[in-house]
Symmetry: C2
Subunit: 160 residues, 2 copies
C-alpha cells in the first residue's frame, strides 16, 4: 500500500504508451509511466496506490490505461480529479478511483489505506486521515466483483 | 440547442436540490439550478445544452442530478471537466457529457451543436468550431440507446 505520487494532467499515453498498444497487457504494463518514472513498473508492489493531481487519465479513452495499472497490482487510484472516460474505464475494470481534495498531503512512499466506501484515506506514515469522495456501495460491489462484466455475469447467473 | 452557461464547481445539490429528492423527477427538475438561475427550468427548451467550467457535478453521486437535466430535455453537457461519479451517471442515463478545454468560447444563449463522436462543437452563433473530447463509438451507442440499462436490454434481447 505504498503511494506512488505523480503530478497534474498525467495522460493515458503516459499510463499506457501508444507504441506498445499492439502488445499484450503485460508488455504495456512494463512501460506504464516510464516517461515519468522509469522505475515504476519494476518497483511497484501488489496493493500499492497511485496518487496524482488534477485530471488524471486525460487524453484518449484507451482501456489499456487502467488495465495496465491493475495488471501491475495497483489497488486504488487517488487524485484531485480524474478525466471522465478514464474514471469510467477504471471502475468498469474493477480499479477504484477516488477524488480527494487533500491529495497533496500524501508524499511518495507514504503507506496509505484507502476506504472508498467510507470516503476516507488513512496516511499510516503521517497519522493523518484525509477525506475523499465516497463511492456508493452498489458501485463498490461492482469494483469488488472485478468490474462491470464480472459483476453482470454474477448477477445474471443469480437471476431466475 | 441554446447554451445555458454556468461556472466552476456546480455541485449535484445545485443540479438536484436535496430538499426535493423525496419528490418525483418532474418536481426535482423544476428546481434544478434554481440557486444559480431561477429561470432555468421554466425557460430551458428540449435540445438545449448545459455548459460549465471545472468539476461539473461535484458532491454527492445522486443519480437524480443527471436525470433532472435529462428530464428537462437537455441534449448534452459540455464542461472543462466533470466529477467522475456524475460523469458516469450521466452517460449511464443516456446523457452525453463532453470535456472541452475551450468551453469559455461559448456564451449564454449561443446556438451550439455538439458532435461527441467526432469530438467537436460548432458554435453556430460565432461560427467557431471547438475541439472537445471524443466519446468512443461503443459508448455513444449506449448513450443513443438511452443509457446503460436500455442498451443492455437491447443487447440481451438480441443474444441467442
Amino acid at each position: 500500500m505504498n503511494a506512488w505520487v505523480f503530478g497534474d494532467d498525467v495522460d493515458t499515453d503516459a499510463i499506457a504508451p501508444g507504441r506498445y498498444l499492439k502488445f499484450d497487457i503485460g508488455e504495456i504494463a512494463r512501460h506504464s509511466m516510464e516517461t515519468l518514472d522509469p522505475d515504476f513498473s519494476s518497483r511497484v508492489r501488489k496493493g500499492d496506490i497511485v496518487v496524482a493531481g488534477r485530471n488524471f487519465g486525460a487524453g484518449s479513452s484507451r482501456e489499456q490505461a487502467p488495465a495496465a495499472l491493475k495488471h501491475l497490482g495497483i489497488s486504488a487510484l487517488v487524485a484531485e480529479s480524474f478525466a471522465g472516460l478514464f474514471y469510467r474505464n477504471a471502475l468498469n475494470l474493477g480499479l477504484p478511483a477516488v477524488a480527494c481534495a487533500e491529495v497533496k498531503k500524501i508524499r511518495a512512499g507514504d503507506r496509505v489505506r484507502v476506504d472508498a466506501e467510507r470516503g476516507r484515506i488513512e496516511n499510516l506514515t503521517t497519522g493523518e486521515t484525509l477525506a475523499c469522495e465516497t463511492i456508493p456501495a452498489h458501485l463498490m460491489q461492482m469494483v469488488r466483483d472485478g468490474g462491470l462484466l464480472a459483476h453482470l455475469e454474477k448477477r445474471l447467473a443469480r437471476a431466475p
